[in-house]
Symmetry: C2
Subunit: 253 residues, 2 copies
Amino acid sequence: MARFFLELAYNGTRYCGWQVQPDAPSVQQTLEKALAVLLSQECPVVGAGRTDAGVHARYYVAHFDASDRPKVLAPDFIYHLNCLLPYDIAVSSVREVLPDAHARFHAVEREYTYYVSRRKNPFCRGLAAFFSYPLDVTRMNEAAALLLRNADFTSFARLHADNKTNICRVTVAEWREEGEQLVFVIRADRFLRNMVRAVVGSLLDVGRGKRSVADFAGIIEARNRGSAGSSAPAEGLYLTDVVYPPEIYVEHP
Amino acid sequence: MARFFLELAYNGTRYCGWQVQPDAPSVQQTLEKALAVLLSQECPVVGAGRTDAGVHARYYVAHFDASDRPKVLAPDFIYHLNCLLPYDIAVSSVREVLPDAHARFHAVEREYTYYVSRRKNPFCRGLAAFFSYPLDVTRMNEAAALLLRNADFTSFARLHADNKTNICRVTVAEWREEGEQLVFVIRADRFLRNMVRAVVGSLLDVGRGKRSVADFAGIIEARNRGSAGSSAPAEGLYLTDVVYPPEIYVEHP
């Protein structure tokens, strides 16, 4: 048996999220089925993390084990896997990793990107959140900068989640304008469930003047989920990067 | 009665094209219904041109007449019209024009853009054509340059079309690479029906080595639709600009 990291992207619109759930199609289950056909074996996959229903991934990593190493590393493996997968899941590469490498536990950094469409756009239904009211980007970035200085994100965690700790080290948290869209990029060593959508929801409250930057600082200080704003819609959210230590990969020269 | 130019964009996936057809939803009909509700009058609209089923428009112009000028020019007219229109049609502005201004006949220049996706992309189903085989962009541009030197496009016209002439003055015809996509931009004073998809289909034949640049020159010379390659798929095609003489617009200072 050898272990592999599969790099993929998916449009989450049709799925209940990454994670297998009863009675709803998930990305995980769809991928497992395609791998099972291709490798003629049961093929459980473990993903870099859950994503909620409707959330997308431009870059996602999942690991699986296979006995037929040459088949997985053959040049046409990705091509055949893409032919088996539906249009909304695309694999881009596969790499052998150490036998105990883990797509979720060994990730040292993740990046999420949130897209806000400010005008009705016929081409991004389900692919960006639409907000028509005016947003003050400068103030949103003042508030976002506070995320870099704070380590406890209890206020943005899901209630009753079983995290041992709510400490996250955020290294990037910035809004920028891209044409008609507002784009928020956030990188951290780890994220709590629902954290990005809760952060974006509160930052949008700051942008539209419903809360001040000082209010946002207060939300963080409160360490209480009840103090934050409502979550921003799933459709604007993309997982865009996952980073692993380089020594996890087995090189095939 | 005053006449207005409406600027809009639409995702053509769900439509039989711009033009009203029996038993299939068209962009024209959908727009006419929304305007009729908003203006409480029958409101026929005339578009800048037909687009085929599945073809998109990032920029499209249509004219209509209305007796209630203040209502059309009120600041919230576009907002209310967008609320009445489905998600895949978005209007961006309305301008009063001279009473005999015509969205189709007075257009002096149009631009189409064609998107070719070279990798499976979960986010652009229906929004770009997918070609996985290698394409030689340099050779495609050598062939495209010939379009600027030739005026008779009979080889790319639909058979039995009732054009009085097949002469078009092409001013831009160029492929460029944008990330994973290949993008073709073509501008001309006029286009024949089906012309862009026929041109793109033949240029893709050149790009994959099925035809040479000299073959492409021969297609143009032949002045015979039978000599060109098959049409490229509708989903990659966008109308992206329509230009009118500035004196057509009525200024409201």
